[in-house]
């Protein structure tokens, strides 16, 4: 299969990016280095190309009802101009994808993970009723994420002040660089920031415009490596690692996105049963003692027996230690529980801890961590 590129690929090359295959796309893993890019986002501002993500538009009189049938979270309660994070589930409660649903006055746009575009499209199309129209706009839409405490400063002067005043998970459509952009106060880093959607043919204007506007703030282009380490410090789930078709939102700690009081949605009865029967395993966040680092796929061991698997693991650049997440028996998912993680011949000592791991991020404190995929 040949790799696709985003409209920013020449900008990545010009910036010296290390390009790697990811979800069928040639994507920047890093430019200067993961740690430098990670810290730029925590301390200043970073720019991510996330154009590999897919966009599906749902229009027609039944759009909201259909979205609420597809998603475990509730779209009907959202106002136009509001985005909602939600799992998309199978009838058995397994997760097809996790996505953002943008509610407009006259449509809903689902922003989905690149690796799942084909599978999501098949799933959504098969369920679509006669009173909605679906369009897969993934190839026409470019997306950049501007993330970090100085993101507002970068955007000021470029957009109306109403955009700078958007609350978390709100968005607006505004004219910018000759086209119309959708700008939302969202992200996958835990920092303040924006995600911008616009037609692919304006890619150069947006990349150059944002890099220029961000120069004084010390903007750095950031790759998938930093995107992963930033989301992991927040304890956000990554589809394909922490959640997939074999996991359900309740055991993944995404119960806050499952509205069992909605009339009906795909997976509802299965998830009601899971809830009634009690969870057999839970996604736990953990810290590792010492300098070693847990990794995706390592075994979780307790009393000499394998009892779970690490789904995400890595080195936290801000905490300077190994952190991870994995499915473990409920008793080990309680804060302070201890277990082992097998790294080759070594047994790392892990302690379950509350997420977000990193407490210094803009969104570390508020009530519920909201993650986009």
């Amino acid at each position: 299969m040949s790799l696709r590129t985003t409209p920013f690929v020449e900008h990545h090359r010009a910036q010296g990016a290390k390009l790697v295959p990811f979800a069928g796309f040639l994507m920047p893993l890093q430019y200067e280095g993961i740690v430098a890019e990670h810290k730029a986002v925590r301390n200043a501002v970073g720019l991510f190309d996330v154009s590999h993500m897919g966009e599906f538009e749902i229009t027609g009189p039944g759009a909201v009802a259909f979205a609420d049938k597809l998603l475990t979270n509730q779209v009907a309660g959202a106002e136009p101009g509001q985005a909602v994070y939600s799992p998309l589930c199978l009838p058995d409660g397994g997760i097809v994808d996790d996505l953002l649903a943008y509610r407009y006055a006259d449509k809903i746009t689902l922003v989905v993970n690149a690796a799942n575009i084909a599978a999501d499209w098949a799933h959504v199309s098969a369920l679509a009723p006669a009173d909605v129209r679906l369009e897969n706009c993934s190839e026409q839409v470019a997306q950049l994420a501007l993330q970090g405490p100085r993101a507002v400063e970068v955007m000021s002067g470029l957009v109306p002040s109403s955009v700078l005043e958007l609350s978390y998970y709100r968005f607006q459509e505004v004219p910018l660089w000759g086209t119309t952009a959708v700008i939302s106060r969202t992200g996958y880093t835990g920092e303040d920031g924006f995600e911008l959607y616009f037609p692919c043919e304006y890619a150069d204007e947006f990349w150059d415009g944002l890099m220029r506007a961000g120069a004084k703030a010390g903007i750095k282009p950031c790759g998938l490596g930093a995107r992963d380490s930033l989301r992991l410090e927040m304890g956000f789930c990554l589809y394909g690692n922490d959640i997939d078709r074999t996991t359900n939102p309740l055991e993944a700690g995404l119960g806050w996105t499952v509205k069992l009081d909605k009339p009906d949605f795909v997976g509802k009865s299965a998830l009601e049963r899971v809830k009634a029967e009690g969870l057999k395993r839970k996604l736990a966040g953990f810290l590792v003692e010492g300098p070693r680092v847990p990794r995706h796929g390592m075994d979780v061991v307790d009393g000499g027996t394998t009892v779970g698997t690490v789904t995400s693991g890595g080195f936290s650049p801000c905490m300077e230690r190994g952190i991870g997440m994995g499915y473990v028996p409920p008793a080990l998912a309680k804060n302070g529980a201890r277990f082992g993680v097998k790294s080759g011949n070594a047994d790392l000592v892990a302690t379950t801890t509350a997420r977000p791991f990193y407490e210094g991020a803009f969104h570390s404190k508020p009530k519920k961590a909201q993650a986009s995929g």
């Binding site: 890093q30 993961i34 070693r292 680092v293 190994g322």
Partner: protein, 131 residues
């Protein structure tokens, strides 16, 4: 392109070896550090430990990944670069100098070093990895 000094010998697993007398200094190559990126910890053996050629002698943890370190030759560990404990980034910044890892008193240095790649063969291996 990655720096491949002409005077060193190389393993296919991207360690380098430098012979001085009967002492072989070992580290990872410039290409390896580029691939690993952001080294955060290097686990090294105790002085006095004996290793055999191709055995894993340590572990290198980077932000993204973990990798074993393989001994290019057999011998006794006579010195380890303890400064890497506080400065793991030296492996990235100076892979052939400040980022050295262990020194081995080699048993059969001449024979075993001949089994390793010279700079041109290692360069060819990297060119292949890139194509």
């Amino acid at each position: 392109m990655a720096n491949v000094p002409g005077e060193l010998r190389y393993t296919k697993e991207h360690e380098w070896a430098k012979l001085e007398g009967d002492v072989v200094t070992v580290g990872v190559t410039d290409w390896a550090q580029e691939q690993l990126s952001d080294v955060v910890y290097v686990e090294l053996p105790q002085v006095g430990k004996t290793v055999r050629q191709s055995d894993a002698f340590g572990v290198i943890e980077a932000v993204k990944t973990v990798s074993d370190l393989y001994a290019p030759v057999s011998g006794e560990v006579i010195e380890v670069n303890t400064a890497l404990a506080d400065n793991p980034a030296w492996v990235n910044q100076s892979p052939y100098e400040k980022g050295w890892m262990i020194k081995l008193r080699a048993k059969n240095a001449a024979t075993e070093l001949n089994q390793l790649l010279d700079a041109s063969a290692y360069g060819a291996l990297l060119a292949e990895a890139h194509s």
